[in-house]
Subunit: 399 residues, 2 copies
């Protein structure tokens, strides 16, 4: 059994041949490391004769962010490969296939998606994805419902929850999303022009109370196997297909965290577009598309989720209509609150999004950042009073 070490390109190619049946003996393999080198190595391996190709992803034993490096468990490769397999079993078309997982090397060999592009990049370029809301709604409904006490055997769920205990990656979320932006943490990283808003963020007791509620839910509420990092950089798209990748943050947490992440990232793009689209009419039109998408993401998610619930012969007490209606309302409120936290952290916390961060014009960038922060704070403060997705849309439009 090989001992853990970062793979060379030659070793990656050898693994691709040994561990999959994709390549013939006379294949002419070409290998390129395409990861960003911060957390994982990602090898793209292609046979130049047959065009067969594969991705080999290897977890590195550390994380590098903004120059700093800290140790990070290799067990996340197991979590990611197991989560991908479960998610694919629940929505085959929306998740890449895992061909092989090699625990001792923290390696996952999986389907190559290089005919797709990263959704965040596409949105920054002003592209539209007419099937996205339906696809991601289905992804979230299937993966959340069928891994929860509503949709799977409740004793199996407990054992599965045990296999997805993920303390180190949860701690990243707990720190970066549910703590740092609200205190003078050295991890924070924000535009100095925003100091007035950051000061308010860090002294607003009403806001802290709401963030504490959401933090506590994240810490304690084991409802479903979350993706756990469902932003538009973890989604590959074409005009016709959507693929969700990178579930290394997967764990049993509160369901609203995943739809909250999608909605937050669409709102961040909405704010950032003023730095990318010059023409006001074009800007308004694209933003209307984004708001429609937000509305449809929730609508598709909710209707898929309710349909699965209504069709499933599950827990008789939880299957009652009044419980379901109340459940969907609470899930929507959680979604709004988590979306708010995800927005705030992308402006004030350690890790930013290209949609806003790479805007060149300083004034436009600050305007986008202020807009996002204002929306994020409003969602956090109001989430427990919200009743429907239209209120999130109105919050965005009102800023």
């Amino acid at each position: 059994m090989p001992e853990y070490h970062p793979l060379t390109e030659t070793e990656a190619m050898a693994l691709a041949v040994e561990r999959t049946s994709l390549f013939t003996e006379n294949a002419e393999l070409f290998c390129q490391e395409i990861g960003d080198g911060n957390l994982n190595l990602v090898f793209h391996i292609k046979d130049q004769k047959s065009s067969a190709s594969v991705i080999i992803k290897q977890a590195l034993p550390y994380a590098k962010v903004v120059g700093e490096s800290w140790p990070l468990t290799l067990d996340r490769a197991r979590i990611e490969s197991e989560a991908l397999r479960i998610q694919r079993s629940l929505c085959t078309e929306l998740v890449p296939e895992v061909y092989c997982y090699i625990p001792e090397l923290a390696v996952t060999i999986m389907e190559d998606l290089s005919d797709h592009h990263i959704m965040r990049r596409g949105l920054i370029e002003g592209r539209r994805y007419s099937l996205f809301a339906e696809h991601i709604g289905e992804f979230m409904a299937n993966t959340l419902f069928y891994t929860s006490d509503l949709g799977m055997n409740q004793q199996e769920k407990k054992l599965q929850q045990g296999r997805f205990v993920n303390p180190e990656l949860c701690k990243i979320t707990e720190d970066l999303i549910f703590s740092d932006p609200y205190t003078a943490s050295p991890n924070n990283n924000y535009n100095p022009a925003l100091q007035d808003m950051v000061d308010r963020l860090q002294t607003d007791e009403e806001l802290h109370f709401e963030v504490a509620q959401l933090r506590y839910k994240f810490l304690t509420q084991g409802e479903a196997l979350l993706h756990g990092d469902l932003h538009t950089g973890s989604i590959f798209v074409t005009d016709k297909t959507t693929k969700v990748i990178d579930p290394e943050f997967a764990f049993y947490g509160p369901m609203g965290f995943d739809p909250g992440a999608i909605i937050a990232n669409l709102i961040l793009n909405y704010c950032g577009q003023l730095g990318w689209i010059q023409d006001n009419a074009v800007l308004a039109d694209y933003r209307a598309y984004l708001l429609d998408t937000i509305q449809n993401v929730w609508g598709q998610f909710e209707s898929h989720f309710r349909r699965l619930w209504n069709e499933h012969d599950g827990d008789w007490l939880l299957n009652k209509k009044q419980f379901q209606d109340n459940y969907m309302l609470k899930l929507f409120q959680d979604t709004a609150g988590f979306a708010g936290c995800k927005i705030v952290r992308r402006i004030v916390g350690l890790s930013h999004v290209a949609d806003i961060h790479t805007i060149k014009d300083a004034a436009a960038k600050e305007q986008a950042e202020r807009m996002a922060l204002t929306i994020g704070i409003a969602l956090i403060k109001n989430h427990r009073q919200m009743k429907q997705i239209g209120e999130i849309i109105q919050t965005v439009k009102g800023v």
Copy 2:
């Protein structure tokens, strides 16, 4: 390594000598099996010369209840011994010492408490335990606070939660407490004279909605390492000491479940006393003592819990006063709701309490049962509106 088999008394004595240092070479051991034989063997072993003694508890691979027998995991012996050790480390005086755990035999060798008696028995006999409220308040505060995200390292807590995944014993609770009494389950076991109340219990949609909320909390809310079965039959007492035993149902669940169990069992005794005490003035006086005890159990628990929280240098966001006040209110409401479910199941469900079940006079027994059911239903229906322990007392007095 010995293979699993039910121990004989001779084997139990040999283990006591080999695995503890309590007995000298020339000990004259006497062994008696004192378990009820339904779930576990319990050997009481005593040296008749030195009076040194020990308990050996062995899990059986099945459960026998009302003549039926079903398989039950031996892993519960590990859960119980680990929970005892954690609980004892948090409140030494209130938990027996575990000397040795032998996984292959599902055996725990532990401190003998035969100088104590079972609290349920004492209450039925009309005894008073002036230190009980303080002791159990401290037990619950220490064990719940220090195993939660409020009182321990939040990453360690996740790993610990993984070690206490306890699907089979949780299923017993989920079925017997949070499902069977509300539907025509063959597990139910109730006095036919109560049919009118049982019919209402099984058709009351408002009640089912509230039970569903509590059931869902029990399924998903991993707040703290619960005892999980904290009734007065799991508590050993003397006038001066209190010892909590039998945590084989331990798992990470909603905190309110443990104080709810204590309060439910005090209320069940309150109802049952009309079958045990003939003199009205004596009855009223003893019931007043029980209500005082309920008030003090909650009061002691809450004040201990808040003190630990205030003194603990924990999560800065969760440490804020507004969060704590809101938290204690929700915890109280959960406690009231769980207490209600625990009362109902002891009248209608599979397993009853001697406080009521062994009353000989049929009319008195039915009166006690109706009283308990009425209180249980009221607690379940009103728990989310309740604000303070006095409301539980008033509910009991009002019936």
